[in-house]
Amino acid sequence: MTRIIATLRKLLGFFVPDTMLAAFVPGWIALIWLATRLLPVPPAVVAALITLGPMIALGASVHTNAGKIRRARADGR
């Protein structure tokens, strides 16, 4: 379980690095907007997507940053 969480964290951290956090939000919103135009997405699903997407991106960004800081500390930088 721990390994699965660690792998998921690594994957998310890879796809949403810190510098991408600001760019992620408009991109994610644009994707949801497009999806609502093309598909019959229920309003509750839109609400869930709009909250959970940025939340997961934030978690990934925080984790990536934390890793960088820890590595820098370990290297004595």
Binding site: A22, T51, L58, N65, A66
Partner: protein
């Protein structure tokens, strides 16, 4: 007195105060704007006080006043946003607020997890004093005026952006502006009375709280613009706040381990 709406409009009203309605969005906007502006004004006050103590109050006040004038000019240049269509404006504001909130929240989480240093006004004050004390004084104290101008302009622009972002959706600009004005008055009064940086306010916790509120506002407004149905209707905003707070606390805990 916060949020004025006509009775025939669709509202999120919870209560009446005299002839006007006070909405959860209005209260929320005022509180979020007050707290966010308070943090920004405190940071500006620290540097202005350092300039005043090391370079003299004329330089500090000249720089600060020039920055305030520049901000007023900026606001006048931006002009009214009333001509913009409501739905795209709400979406843009939601996205902007969410981006602001995520930035605040990321730094606040890293601070609370002990990965980056906590913001310390006393240390910032000492650093500013040391830096300014090494610059030679001239008849027209460019260094002191520039330092006061820079910090007031920078923090002021952030306040303007925050108030615009928080206040644009659902016409909550007036409560958001009242919140920022109250924060300014509180910080000015404290600065005049104390003449030293205000270190007793838990600024780091405030920053975490503001990040959470901005994220809740941002996701709520962006969602409304995209046609999302929030569970609980009007109660969704505080619930979203709780959700973001829970997520932030989980992240802090995970990164502390």
């Amino acid at each position: 007195m916060f949020f004025f709406e006509k009775k025939n409009q669709k509202t999120f009203a919870l209560a009446h105060v005299g002839e006007v309605r006070v909405t959860p969005h209005g209260y929320g906007a005022a509180v979020a704007s007050f707290l966010a502006s308070l943090v920004e004004f405190l940071e500006a006050l620290t540097v202005v006080l350092a300039v005043g103590a090391t370079r003299g109050w004329r330089s500090a006040l000249t720089g600060a006043a020039a920055a305030v004038l520049a901000l007023v000019g900026l606001l006048a240049a931006l002009g009214p946003r009333a001509a913009l269509p409501a739905a795209p404006l709400r979406l843009a504001v939601g996205v902007l607020t969410l981006m602001f909130g995520l930035r605040w929240l990321r730094r606040a989480i890293l601070r609370q997890a002990g990965l980056i240093p906590l913001h310390d006004e006393a240390a910032a004050y000492a650093r500013a004093r040391t830096r300014l004390a090494t610059v030679r004084a001239t008849a027209w104290d460019e260094a002191g005026i520039a330092a006061a101008f820079q910090v007031v302009a920078m923090e002021g622009i952030e306040v303007v952006l925050i108030v615009a972002a928080i206040g644009a959706a659902d016409g909550a600009l007036i409560p958001a502006a009242w919140g920022a004005a109250a924060a300014l008055l509180a910080v000015l009064a404290a600065g005049i009375l104390l003449h030293r940086p205000i270190t007793s306010i838990p600024e780091n916790i405030l920053k975490l709280g503001v990040g959470i509120m901005l994220c809740a506002f941002g996701s709520c407004w962006a969602g409304e613009a995209l046609g999302a149905a929030w569970p609980g209707g009007d109660a969704a905003l505080p619930l979203l706040g709780l959700l973001w707070a829970a997520a932030a606390l989980l992240m802090i805990r995970a990164e502390r381990a």
